[in-house]
Symmetry: C2
Subunit: 153 residues, 2 copies
């Protein structure tokens, strides 16, 4: 995993290349995405940034705009997690898919090369040129299976 400084430089370069400015709001969003390496809804991220950087006086609008900007430039990825809605994750990791607990909402990541290859094969067989894919496995995680004795606190 790459360091924050390096990624931040990439972000700054990206901004410069597009005649955009490096602002404290953009930085605080970017930093929060990096440090809390999780899956965020725009609102999650908004609340987190507001808590961590009260002085940046962030607005939800800016969060949306920054996420769109980052997504267009592949620095974050968005995924639709069923009921949980659209979420974003920092995009500096290699491709991976998701395993989602339907009880506690926890999201784990995994990779499987064999499946990736099969997917390519399926697409090719049908004449598709595959550009990307989504795979999400839903289920109940270990902890939630163990805690199912009415312990829903």
């Amino acid at each position: 995993m790459r360091e924050y400084k390096e990624l931040l430089e990439e972000f700054k370069t990206l901004l410069k290349a597009n005649n955009l400015k490096f602002t404290k709001q953009r930085e605080s969003i970017f930093k929060t995405l990096f440090e809390y390496d999780k899956h965020f809804s725009p609102e999650d991220l908004y609340n987190l940034v507001k808590k961590r950087y009260p002085s940046s006086n962030i607005g939800i609008t800016t969060v949306y705009r920054t996420l769109n900007l980052l997504e267009e430039n592949k620095l974050v990825t968005s995924i639709s997690f069923g009921i949980a809605g659209k979420k974003y994750e920092f995009g500096h990791k290699s491709h991976h898919d998701h395993l989602i607990c339907e009880v506690c909402g926890k999201i784990e990541e995994f990779e499987d090369e064999t499946i990736e290859k099969l997917q390519e094969k399926i697409a090719k067989m049908r004449g598709f040129k595959m550009t990307e894919h989504i795979m999400q496995l839903f289920g109940i995680c270990k902890e939630c299976q163990e805690n199912k004795n009415g312990d829903d606190s």
Copy 2:
């Protein structure tokens, strides 16, 4: 594939079992889902039903309510297709995944047993009890690859 009559009986039984009524709105929605065996957004379905059964005087509200009812009872399935938003499909078919053309929006279905097994294995390895999964491959279909000579009419 099962016949409409049989499926309709299933629907009626379901309604009865829940003390719900069989209305012409519910029937026209159900029938449309069956006959146009496609992937619908609530609005698509609403427009289609309105066109096909003007006398049923359908409202979008009823479409949403009926889709929720059918989904709860596994007669339709909903999937989030990225930018295209949430869509519903009639659920009388066996499990399958989707191949989506990013250019024309066409959705093809496929099944692959090997992948299904691998998914089970991955979930088990991580202590998840898998309940379902989503797999969507995005790409460009054969036709759209061939037509890419500026023919975007």
